[in-house]
């Protein structure tokens, strides 16, 4: 049984790693070689695919855009989310039942429902085809999740802390900023990482809100990648696409290697304490 277990786990591990390795190796081979022998070990190495991805497919530009959108959306989501989580966990808000119901429904509403009205609202506000518009939409759709996950953290912190802060002359805002926010850091980090990774990979909303020509230079990495699949098909040349995939995955892999322990522990804790 022991060996069977090990065999199965090894098989699963290989199945996860093999496709990624294949993309990595293929991105380092001339496209013609990959077509001739998809599974062969590279005979000739080349970096030209990466050059193409950077120069022709403007991946450097897309990367900067993705970074900008991801960083700002994550910051805003986490900041606004924790402010709301703190105020709902610690204080009685006017119409708190309504607020909580509104947040709960936000977890359920499919993005497809929101996207068409939002398109015309953003057009009306002049935010269509801008990073600002996209960041605000990401933030709005991220807030319910952030509040759901963070409320528990603020809740579990002892009430005495707050009383002590008030005695020291802190206002509720100062208490949040100076005491509760730093104390909730483990939870906030987990939420921030998940938010960041999901925004970094987000395709649907970016596709709808950044598709105009003026947005050409504003596109994010997932859009660039999806474009590349079509371009590669027309040229029957997939090298650029492999390189693009590697470039997109690289930051997530590195980030993940650094913090996977933290991430999974945060996740497990959340799951168990529900």
């Amino acid at each position: 049984v022991r060996w069977l277990t090990r065999g199965l786990l090894l098989g699963y591990a290989l199945a996860v790693v093999a496709p990624l390795m294949w993309i990595l190796l293929s991105s380092l081979r001339p496209s013609a070689d990959v077509v001739a022998d998809p599974l062969g070990w590279p005979q000739r190495w080349t970096l030209s695919n990466f050059e193409d991805a950077f120069v022709q497919a403007r991946f450097a530009r897309y990367f900067v855009n993705s970074l900008y959108v991801t960083v700002w959306s994550t910051l805003l989501t986490v900041l606004l989310g924790s402010a709301l989580a703190y105020s709902t966990a610690r204080f009685r808000l006017p119409a708190s039942g309504l607020t909580q119901a509104a947040l709960a429904i936000g977890l359920i509403i499919p993005l497809q429902l929101v996207v068409l009205p939002l398109f015309f609202m953003l057009k009306w506000m002049g935010l269509l085809g801008t990073h600002t518009g996209l960041i605000l939409v990401y933030t709005a759709s991220g807030i319910p999740y952030a509040v759901l996950l963070l409320r528990g953290f603020f809740w579990r912190l002892p009430q005495e802390l707050y009383e002590a802060a008030v005695l020291d002359g802190c206002s509720p805002v100062q208490a949040f900023w100076k005491i509760f926010l730093p104390l909730a850091r483990p939870g906030i980090t987990t939420v921030a990482l998940f938010t960041a990774l999901s925004i970094y990979n987000e395709y649907f909303l970016a596709f709808i809100f950044l598709s105009g020509q003026e947005s050409e230079s504003l596109r994010t990495l997932p859009l660039g990648l999806a474009d590349l699949t079509m371009v590669s098909q027309y040229h029957a040349d997939f090298g650029q696409l492999y390189a693009g995939l590697v470039l997109v995955m690289l930051p997530s892999v590195m980030l993940y290697l650094l913090i996977h322990r933290y991430l999974l522990e945060g996740l497990s804790e959340g799951a168990v304490k529900g």
């Binding site: 496709p19 509403i109 068409l116 057009k123 960041i135 105009g212 997530s252």
Partner: protein
């Protein structure tokens, strides 16, 4: 401090607004970029000056969104709903310019175009489109091979099939075929029908006249094409994209290929130096050999000017420039591409000599590209061609299906407000079960309440709770509410909207087979993927039970694909390539059936999603399940062990009660995400799902942006919301310990 930070944030965000409007005075030309590239058009843009020209293979998707944005470019040739745009006055009438002088000033502009080529988009004395590339459908063949083997080019269909048999017998596949895109079978079908039924009947079919589909000539035409595909198409070709199939032909792995006259220019870089390209007319299926080649099937690449763009007149100038007789020679010579301008096609190279001769000798021309077709037939035809090539229906059945689709379209255009009651039973069943689930699951929500909650002062409230609530309401709640309202309107995003009440829902639930197909696909995903992923992750979570370093490392590894987003879809798209690594690996293991297996074709797409889902979604479930397993008290296992329980009994009696809430919640999350699924189908079908493979999410996109029926699209979204709400209610009811 906080105030300052928030202010800072918004200031920085403001910087993002500075970018747009950079090209305000240039004329914008947005073109579809196929394999032949945009070199000529770019060069013209440079020479003319102040033209911002760009393009890519997916330009039409982006332009659809830009048209709704109200900011069209001046000129485009992308695939857009032009009939609708013309009807709404969004396309400029080129008539005044066509009657005026051409670029050189040697005569009226309209005289520069080949006869008939301006007619496709001409209505009521107005001309809305300008032909540039000229498309002739022909059979390309490997001339050297034909010479060496003594094969002769055929004139009739029966000579052609005999030739195919001969080639087949010599061990070579006769015909390469671009099977991923069924469009490429269209010239064959049309050609056969034109010759079998005659020009009059052919035109009547395009006008959807009664009886013009379900007739012996049509059945015969479909039979001929089906037989040809079955016997003589290269094995595996039904899974090949156009470039792949065309490379097969050029590499000498098939003797012939049917393609439009863009072939040479599209494949320029891929033609081996010693390859001798030849063309002959698609043979006519009648006994009289003189008819083949006399009638050529033609079309054209049309360019449009948008009347609501910033400077439409300058857009027309760009078109006058690129179609001037002196200039367009460069396109013909550089790209070896026939064009619709008189006199230019004599500059084609000797590779296309036979094609040029075909054009010269033709006494008449025909083709979809020259006559207006009902946009409603496009999807119908695409499905019919698929079933024809894959032998999923007999020609007689297909002819019948075409006829009834045409009948439906005729009725619809005669009476646009009416809804056909096709699916009353299903509609009742769906609404009934949604309602039942909601009623059964609904209960008064209970929210966490703190013990000693204080009330916030107004200023603190403004600082802490107001900004998040404002952003959330404005960019999420308000649009959701608007969507509920918008579902009651009929609106194309261009003109005014009209209130139609529940018409959109009626149209979807009662009269749209595509909607029900999409819903069925969603149900398939909801039934299969969550169950498989849950079982898979449960199994591996149990295998990973001792919580030690190696197990933790494996868990982290299995989790990773969850973070890849659309990356995982694109990776699997590559793995699933017919000549890709997965098939290579499987064949090398001895499963020879997987050589050229088409994982992503319409028939196999949904089962193929399963490995992808296991790969990308299991990790998340697995980590949660492992976390739940660590909660099981060790003493219970020991007690069970003392009682003599086996592994299976231990699992059910000891672990399962602890796992159930987590596993159950994870399962429901997966079901809900299966309802919302969009990206996997959208990307794996290259953004154009056929009506058989839509899910509700992709159908919504298609309805909104490709068909410009925004009210109906929103109605789909509302039905999606109904599904999710009902499931959520059921979840709340069935696992009270969660939430």
């Amino acid at each position: 401090m906080l105030t300052r930070l928030v202010l800072c944030l918004f200031l920085c965000l403001g910087l993002g607004l500075g970018v747009p409007g950079a090209y305000a005075q240039d004329v914008e030309v947005a073109l579809f970029e196929g394999g032949e590239g945009l070199t000529y058009f770019r060069q013209c843009a440079l020479e003319l000056g102040q033209v911002n020209l760009y393009g890519d293979p997916r330009i039409s998707e982006k332009l659809r969104i830009r048209i709704l944005e109200g900011k069209p470019p001046e000129v485009s040739n992308a695939n857009l709903p032009y009939e609708q745009l013309i009807a709404k006055g969004h396309i400029l009438d080129l008539q005044p310019w066509l009657n005026g002088p051409n670029w050189e000033g040697t005569g009226p502009w309209r005289d520069d175009f080949l006869p008939g080529s301006l007619e496709r988009y001409a209505q009521n004395g107005k001309t809305y489109a300008l032909p540039v590339q000229y498309v002739v459908q022909a059979v390309y063949y490997n001339q050297r091979l034909f010479r060496e083997r003594g094969w002769e080019t055929p004139h009739t269909w029966s000579q052609w099939t005999r030739l195919c048999q001969q080639i087949q017998d010599s061990g070579l596949p006769p015909l390469a075929f671009q099977g991923r895109y069924t469009y490429y079978a269209s010239p064959l079908i049309q050609h056969a029908y034109y010759h079998l039924a005659g020009p009059q009947a052919y035109r009547e079919q395009l006008q959807l006249k009664p009886g013009s589909f379900d007739n012996p000539a049509m059945i015969e035409a479909l039979t001929l094409v089906q037989q040809l595909a079955k016997k003589y198409f290269q094995p595996g070709s039904l899974g090949m994209s156009h470039s792949e199939a065309q490379v097969e032909f050029l590499q000498g792995r098939a003797a012939m290929l049917v393609c439009g006259s863009w072939f040479k220019s599209e494949m320029r870089d891929k033609i081996p130096p010693d390859f001798e390209l030849g063309q002959f007319a698609i043979p006519a299926p009648t006994s009289s050999p003189t008819r083949a080649g006399k009638a050529v099937q033609v079309g054209a690449g049309y360019f449009f000017v948008f009347s609501h763009s910033a400077q439409p007149a300058r857009g027309v100038d760009y078109l006058r420039f690129i179609t001037s007789r002196n200039k367009i020679r460069q396109l013909v010579q550089a790209q070896d591409l026939p064009v619709a301008v008189v006199g230019a096609n004599r500059y084609l190279s000797k590779d296309l000599a036979q094609l040029a001769r075909m054009l010269e000798q033709a006494t008449t021309s025909f083709g979809e590209g020259m006559t207006s077709t009902d946009p409603g037939m496009v999807q119908v035809w695409s499905d019919i061609r698929f079933d024809l090539l894959h032998e999923r229906a007999t020609p007689a059945q297909l002819a019948q299906r075409l006829e009834s689709a045409a009948q439906r379209l005729r009725q619809q255009s005669a009476n646009p407000g009416a809804i056909a009651w096709l699916f009353p039973g299903r509609a009742m069943l769906l609404l009934g079960s949604l309602l039942a689930l909601l009623l059964w699951g609904a209960r008064k929500p209970q929210y966490q309440r703190g013990q000693a909650l204080r009330t916030l002062t107004q200023s603190d409230l403004l600082l802490l709770a107001a900004p998040p609530l404002l952003v959330y309401s404005l960019f999420f709640l308000v649009p959701s509410l608007l969507a509920l309202l918008a579902a009651g309107f009929q609106w194309d995003g261009l003109g005014p909207a009209t209130w139609v009440g529940f018409h959109n829902f009626g149209q979807l639930l009662l009269a749209s087979p595509t909607f029900w197909q999409a819903l069925a696909n969603n149900l398939f995903l909801m039934a299969c993927i969550p169950a498989a992923v849950t079982l898979w992750s449960l199994f591996f979570a149990v295998l990973l039970q001792p919580n030690q370093a190696p197990q933790r490392a494996l868990r982290a590894l299995f989790f990773f694909p969850h973070l890849m987003g659309i990356g995982s879809i694109l990776v699997w798209q590559q793995l699933y390539h017919p000549q890709g690594p997965l098939n290579q690996w499987l064949t090398s293991l001895g499963f020879s059936g997987f050589a050229n297996f088409t994982w992503l074709s319409q028939d196999h797409l949904y089962p193929s999603l399963l490995p992808l889902a296991l790969w990308s979604a299991s990790g998340f479930q697995l980590v949660l399940t492992c976390a739940a397993l660590t909660q099981v008290p060790q003493e219970l296992y020991e007690a069970a062990h003392l009682e003599g329980a086996n592994g299976w009994q231990k699992f059910w009696a000891v672990s399962w009660p602890y796992l159930k809430p987590t596993v159950w919640a994870g399962y429901f999350l997966l079901v809900i995400s299966a309802v919302k699924s969009f990206e996997s189908i959208w990307l794996l079908t290259n953004q154009e799902p056929t009506s058989q493979v839509h899910v509700l999410g992709t159908l919504l996109m298609q309805t909104a942006f490709a068909e410009l029926r925004l009210g109906e699209a929103t109605a789909i979204a509302v039905i999606l919301l109904g599904l999710v709400l009902a499931l959520q209610a059921a979840l709340g009811r069935s696992s009270p310990e969660q939430m």
